[in-house]
């Protein structure tokens, strides 16, 4: 295992679909242990950026510099568990070594699913499935964690609990995190830094310096929220 965790560096990244440049010379650095939330309207290039960093864009033309560590984990919007593998086998999918299963058990315990190792994914609730997916990310000891709206399909209560869990796990394992979301509150609540993407470039890059238990009622929270909504082209009260 690498002793010095590396962050993530993206420089002058261009990605094109046909004539349209979805990412147009984008620069982004994420330090080890830093939690960055990526906001943007649909079509702003959020997912394209995430897929480029994850190395999932084969048929896309583009240029630019990507400096990504070896150990990258991705959390998808759906939990994407293989229905024919039991929970533990899903967690350790692709992990080698004799102690893989032991690490898998620990990861499951960390997300609060101790004892569910032998369950089938279809026997779990949506929130539990997403926790298994988090365990699958953790067990790889990631230097970079990419999350593509991982809470998008969860109900509000489950989402609140997942926020707490994700914050706790990131504080303990300190990966560089890039969380793609469309939820401004989620971004302000979780991230050290929020980046707003517009037309393939970074429109706004703002550090969130609120103290640890972040409350929606905090005036500081409100001002971040207004600032980000403005950058997204939404003014409070006005119908877009």
């Amino acid at each position: 295992m690498a002793s010095n965790a590396r962050g993530l560096r993206v420089a002058n990244l261009v990605r094109r679909f046909g004539d349209r440049a979805v990412l147009d010379g984008l620069d982004l650095d994420i330090a080890p242990g830093e939690f960055v939330a990526l906001l943007g309207r649909s079509g702003s290039g959020k997912s394209t950026l995430l897929r480029a960093i994850a190395g999932l864009d084969y048929d896309v033309t583009g240029t630019g510099e990507l400096d990504v560590p070896d150990r990258v984990s991705v959390a998808f919007q759906d939990s994407r568990l293989l229905p024919w593998l039991r929970v533990l086998d899903n967690v350790v999918l692709g992990v080698g070594g004799s102690d893989a299963r032991e690490h898998g058990r620990q990861a499951l315990a960390e997300v609060g699913l101790e004892g569910r190792e032998r369950a089938w994914p279809s026997e779990l609730s949506g929130g539990e499935q997403q926790r298994v997916a988090l365990a699958r990310c953790l067990v790889r000891d990631p230097e970079v964690l990419l999350a593509d709206e991982p809470f998008g399909s969860l109900d509000a209560l489950t989402r609140i609990r997942m926020h707490g869990l994700l914050r706790e796990l990131c504080a303990r394992h300190r990966p560089a995190v890039l969380l793609v979301t469309h939820d401004v509150d989620e971004a302000v609540e979780l991230a050290d830094r929020v980046v707003v993407l517009e037309d393939g470039r970074i429109r706004l890059d703002v550090a969130v310096t609120l103290p640890a238990p972040r409350s929606h009622r905090d005036p500081g929270f409100q001002s971040y929220r207004d600032q980000l909504l403005l950058a997204l082209g939404i003014t409070e009260g006005a119908t877009p």
Binding site: L56, S73, R80, L82, S122
Partner: protein, 279 residues
């Protein structure tokens, strides 16, 4: 105005707590041995029609005559011999066909070269009914056992190929993406994602193939056989013995039913991760 002070009449009676239960859209609990109820009812009707003389024995023998014929044929050894012959034909044909079909599907499903060489040819073969090949195969192979097994195997192989190939190539692209993200190599990908994902389709192929092998057997044994259940029935037709024909049909039916039931059991065990509507 005083009227509003009177208690509403409904309050005097106890509150009604019965709620109409919502109907489940799924099928509910299976009836124990439910699958044999239908056939039993049919046999009952048949017995009634024979006993009351509604059914002419020259058209259809009574159930007990059929049972007697079955006992007689078993005692003189004709039936067991015929069953053994037919069973081995169907089993060998099925096994050969299933192996060939599955191997071709794996070769075509997992490599572009295999796909280019195999898929087109099998799709052409699929358009030609296997039974239509009988004249040609008789010229090549004669009318011996090899011919029968080849005809059965051909039908089974095509069925299994179609089902297995389409499920191998129809793996959800999201799972492919996942496999790339977690860094599976090609072997692990095939073993953990492609094969398990294709198993449901493979089982559909197996069950269709078993049915197909019995179908081919019936046809083969009635045109060019000197042994087997079909031959027994063909002979009985010459002598007008409807009860022997029925014995043959019952045996075919039992074979089909039992083989399908065995595959169902196997399928439920192998695909225990699936929760389907039928429970």
């Amino acid at each position: 105005m005083t009227r509003t002070l009177e208690p509403p009449p409904r309050a005097t009676s106890p509150p009604v707590t019965t709620r109409t239960r919502k109907r489940r859209l799924g099928l509910g609990k299976p009836i124990p041995f439910g699958r044999v109820l239908g056939p039993l009812l049919l046999i009952g009707l048949w017995s009634a029609a024979s006993a009351t003389g509604l059914l002419d024995p020259r058209i259809l023998s009574a159930p007990w005559t059929v049972v007697e014929a079955g006992v007689r044929l078993t005692e003189d050894g004709t039936l067991p011999d015929s069953i053994a012959t037919s069973l081995s034909r169907a089993a060998i044909g099925f096994l050969v066909g299933a192996s060939v079909g599955t191997s071709l599907a794996v070769a075509a499903g997992l490599s572009r070269i295999g796909e280019a060489l195999i898929d087109g040819s099998v799709q052409v073969k699929r358009a030609i009914p296997t039974l239509g090949l009988i004249p040609l195969l008789i010229l090549w192979l004669g009318i011996g056992e090899a011919f029968k097994i080849v005809v059965i195997a051909l039908g089974v192989a095509v069925t299994l190929y179609i089902q297995t190939y389409s499920s191998l190539t129809g793996i959800d692209s999201r799972y492919v993406e996942l496999a790339e993200v977690v860094g599976l190599n090609r072997r692990q990908f095939v073993r953990k994602v492609v094969f398990p994902g294709a198993l449901p389709g493979f089982f559909v192929g197996l069950r269709l193939g078993v049915t197909g092998s019995w179908l081919a057997l019936v046809v083969l044994e009635q045109i060019n056989a000197t042994s087997g259940i079909g031959y027994l029935m063909f002979q009985a037709q010459n002598y007008g013995q409807t009860e022997v024909i029925l014995v043959g049909l019952v045996v075919y039916g039992l074979f089909g039913f039992v083989s399908d039931a065995l595959l169902r059991v196997l399928e439920r065990r192998v695909l225990s991760w699936r929760r389907t509507l039928a429970g």
